[in-house]
């Protein structure tokens, strides 16, 4: 009973302290937007009214769900691919100075080249299906994850490493029992950046080719000056980004219960 009450109070507190202010801010934004459009100073083809956008969203949920799902799958597929390659690369780099010196400049080259500049190329190479979108999302994910994985793998406490060496731990034992857990805080910091980036990658890919996904919805709506659809697609993308970020934070809290207090104790 007491437990129930305290958990009710806990939920209440979360609602009051973190959800309420953001909901209030959003409401104010929508009201200001509605008033601004409603007062007639802005034509519909520049900024649609909130009700027009809502009408479009609610009127055709299947449409937005279908395209949103495709973008989400492409983004997450690219994220998984990019993160896997990045973590494997960082693993090799941390064990070999030579590979580190070879791969790091290449990775930097990938990072400094604007993704929008590479996107058309990928379309030519990989066609009009999902492949170029996934690859663009993977490419944009790759760098932050690799740098943080590499830093994380190396950020091990030297006394702990000496303890492992003193009991003659093998390199793979040091990797799996020490380096991988030590790198989790760094990896999650990278994921929080890379997950929204992968959505950007997928959308940019969709701009250049194909007729599926929210990116192509945006391009088509733009060409038709169909503002309510354009706004709806943007809103769905924003909501997707928020949900993904919340999910990553949730995972981080669950897995890194030991971290907030300090990595090394």
């Amino acid at each position: 009973m007491n437990n129930l009450r305290s958990s009710v109070i806990g939920v209440y507190r979360i609602v009051i302290q973190s959800l309420l202010p953001s909901i209030a801010a959003l409401t104010i934004l929508v009201v200001v937007w509605g008033l601004w459009v409603g007062l007639g100073s802005v034509p519909e083809y520049i900024v649609p009214s909130p009700s027009a956008v809502l009408d479009r969203l609610v009127g055709n949920p299947g449409f937005f769900f279908y395209h949103g799902f495709i973008t989400l799958v492409e983004a997450l597929g690219g994220f998984l691919l990019g993160a896997t390659v990045a973590i494997l690369g960082a693993t090799v780099m941390v064990h070999s100075r030579f590979v580190e010196r070879t791969l790091l400049p290449l990775a930097l080259l990938v990072k400094v080249t604007p993704i929008v500049a590479i996107a058309p190329l990928f379309v030519i190479w990989f066609g009009f299906g999902s492949a170029p979108k996934i690859l663009i999302a993977a490419l944009i994910t790759f760098f932050p994850v690799m740098v943080n994985a590499f830093t994380g793998f190396r950020s091990i406490n030297s006394d702990v490493l000496n303890f492992f060496r003193s009991v003659s731990a093998t390199k793979s034992q040091i990797y799996f029992k020490l380096r991988v857990p030590s790198s989790l805080p760094y990896l999650f910091a990278a994921f929080r950046i890379a997950v929204p980036l992968s959505v950007i990658g997928a959308v940019v890919g969709e701009w250049f080719s194909g007729d599926r996904g929210l990116g192509s919805v945006i391009i088509i709506a733009h060409n038709n000056l169909d503002m309510p659809t354009l706004f709806s697609a943007i809103l769905v993308l924003a909501a997707t980004g928020v949900s993904l970020t919340v999910f990553v934070s949730y995972l981080e809290k669950r897995l890194l219960f030991w971290h907030e207090i300090g990595v090394i104790s």
């Binding site: 406490n157 006394d159 702990v160 000496n162 303890f163 492992f164 060496r165 003193s166 009991v167 003659s168 731990a169 093998t170 034992q173 029992k177 020490l178 857990p181 219960f257 030991w258 971290h259 207090i261 300090g262 990595v263 090394i264 104790s265």
Partner: protein, 265 residues
């Protein structure tokens, strides 16, 4: 009959070549440690004591000289799991429980020759904290776990680098006797680096006094206080004599060093 020493340190000289002129850390350090003897090394900071300890433990290779542990080299002794380490930092893995940290060495080693971690936890009266995470314990308790972990591996030689150095004075004075109690159960051969004169006297059979960099053993003092020792010895006149002797020897060591420095200039 001469008893064969457990650890022999022959003419250890160590310098870093990368800087010009080469930085001499240790010059011609020689001493023996008998089986079951508790030895403390005390000296000014920066005198290469930690370097010496990692050379004895096979974590570093000296520029010149040789260490033998029962006629085998430290690296081989490490492989046979004859060596245990305790560092100033408890160096526990924050994502593992106390018991998980205690059994780490057994997981790494092929042969689990060590003691049951739960039994050793019982000796330091921490068995009810077996499922706690390091961040849920106090600093003193964490260091107790680190000590217990080292004893659980059940090595023949324990190398300790300021094992109580990170604790506050109140916790520290109690922990000295805790360490003494643990050691008394198995009478391992111990080499301990410390900055505390009382600690060296309370714990050791013999104290080696080292000079400032480049470190060398300038004098040694046998502590003939009877064992087992308890808090009472700190009030005995012999205890005060010993601490006074060490303090004298230390100030002579630093004086010697500053004269050397003046001569070099």
């Amino acid at each position: 009959m001469q008893i064969k020493p457990h650890i022999s340190v022959y003419g250890i000289t160590h310098f870093y070549r990368r800087v010009r002129p080469p930085l001499f850390v240790l010059t011609n350090v020689c001493f023996d440690v008998n089986r079951g003897e508790f030895i403390s090394i005390i000296g000014p900071s920066g005198g290469g004591k930690t370097t010496l300890l990692s050379i004895i433990g096979g974590l570093q290779t000296p520029t010149k000289g040789l260490v033998k542990i029962d006629d085998i080299c430290p690296k081989e002794a490490q492989r046979r799991r004859l060596l245990g380490f305790v560092f100033q930092d408890p160096s526990l893995l924050p994502w593992r429980t106390v018991l998980g940290n205690m059994s780490l060495a057994n997981e790494i080693g092929v042969s689990a020759s060590g003691k049951d971690p739960r039994d050793v936890l019982g000796i330091v009266e921490l068995e009810q904290f077996a499922e706690y995470y390091p961040h849920e314990l106090s600093g003193g308790m964490r260091q107790k776990v680190a000590l217990a972990r080292a004893f659980a591996v059940d090595p023949e030689v324990l190398l300790m680098d300021e094992p109580l150095g990170s604790l506050d004075e109140i916790t520290r004075s109690g922990m000295r006797y805790e360490l003494l109690r643990l050691w008394n159960l198995s009478r391992k051969t111990v080499v301990m680096v410390t900055h505390s004169i009382p600690e060296a006297v309370i714990l050791s059979d013999r104290v080696l006094i080292m000079s400032a960099r480049p470190g060398q053993v300038v004098s040694e003092l046998e502590i003939k206080l009877p064992r087992p020792r308890s808090e009472d010895i700190e009030r005995s006149p012999e205890f005060l004599d010993y601490t006074y002797c060490i303090r004298e020897a230390l100030s002579r060591a630093t004086l010697l060093d500053s004269e050397n420095g003046a001569a070099n200039e």
